[in-house]
């Protein structure tokens, strides 16, 4: 850079990288869908119920209270007698992440009982601003498939996501 009287100032190349932070997507921002629809024994987030069928456990409480959460996504599926029930649940951030915040990692814990009840969870983060948790589940005859998890994100510190 030229200056007056033939003087020249020095130029330096510099790369500025924003400071990043990690966060959990709050559950209020994670809607969900249930392939078989909501019911008294089929729920995700706050929709549907946490019933365990009376016909399976006449002595037990029909409605359970899951631990409340300010950050997690969760699902609950219980079946009565017969062939059980199966389905596919999905969770994703809405609106999508913004300001360069992206998916980082995820957590899920499940607990199931009754015959061949299972939970198979997967993450599709091909769009890092809209990561989608997919949960393939089966609640066997008088069985239960319940789960709880979190989505971790990473982005510029102090900037809304």
């Amino acid at each position: 850079v030229g200056g007056c009287h033939g003087s020249a100032s020095t130029t330096w190349d510099a790369t500025f990288t924003p400071l990043n932070d990690e966060a959990l997507i709050p559950w209020q921002r994670i809607p969900c869908s249930i392939s078989i629809g909501f019911g008294v024994s089929d729920s995700c987030q706050t929709m549907g119920g946490h019933n365990f069928p009376f016909e399976c456990n006449p002595a037990g409480p029909p409605f359970l209270t899951l631990p409340s959460s300010s950050i997690d996504y969760q699902g609950w599926h219980a079946s009565g007698w017969g062939g059980g029930s199966s389905g596919y649940d999905q969770f994703w951030p809405s609106p999508s992440l913004k300001n360069d915040w992206v998916f980082d990692s995820w957590y899920i814990y499940w607990d199931n009982f009754g015959g061949g009840s299972y939970v198979n969870a997967s993450m599709n983060s091909s769009n890092p601003a809209t990561p989608v948790v997919g949960v393939d589940w089966h609640a066997d005859a008088c069985g239960l498939a319940a789960y709880d998890g979190s989505i971790y994100i990473n982005g510029p510190s102090g900037v809304p996501y």
Partner: protein, 169 residues
């Protein structure tokens, strides 16, 4: 009379020698969980076996006991694991921020070293008092800009130029 005595003895002999076998103990029936309904389940005896879809067989009594226990434990396990995951996340975030701070400090050290190197090279080329002279020249040029007298302006600019001229070796 003799005949009836013989029949009587035979009967006794038969009874004593070959007691009628008691009916065989029936093994508890196994009911598939898939075919159960509320009514069928209620009608089952406590020891009746239920076959679950994974092949596991369990009595109605044990099924009820296990289900009750499992239902009590599910919320606890979900909560315990959630708290553990939250603690792990907090730790991981702290490490991420610490690593980032360390990397920033390291990068800033390099920048500082490079700045010092360039300043030293500048001083070597222009003299050790280069920084002071530059500052004085900048002040003179600033003053020159503000003055209304062209002659004074020229004089100030010349003084600044002299300060910026490398010393003759």
């Amino acid at each position: 009379m003799r005949l009836s005595a013989i029949i009587g003895i035979s009967t006794i002999a038969l009874v004593w020698c070959c007691p009628v076998a008691a009916p065989a103990q029936e093994s508890p029936s196994v009911v598939s969980a898939k075919t159960l309904t509320r009514e069928k389940f209620e009608a089952l005896a406590p020891d009746a076996l239920i076959e679950l879809s994974n092949g596991e067989r369990i009595t109605k009594r044990d099924f009820l006991a296990q289900t009750t226990k499992a239902l009590e434990e599910v919320p606890k396990k979900l909560q315990e694991n959630r708290l553990r995951a939250q603690a792990e996340f907090a730790q991981r975030r702290k490490k991420f921020l610490d690593d980032q701070d360390a990397a920033l400090a390291e990068a800033n050290k390099k920048v500082e070293a490079e700045v010092n190197r360039l300043v030293a090279a500048d001083n070597a080329a222009h003299g050790s008092d280069w920084a002071t002279r530059k500052k004085q020249a900048a002040e003179l040029l600033d003053k020159a800009k503000k003055t209304l007298l062209p002659s004074e302006q020229l004089q100030l600019e010349k003084q600044a130029a002299d300060l910026l001229t490398p010393p003759v070796k």
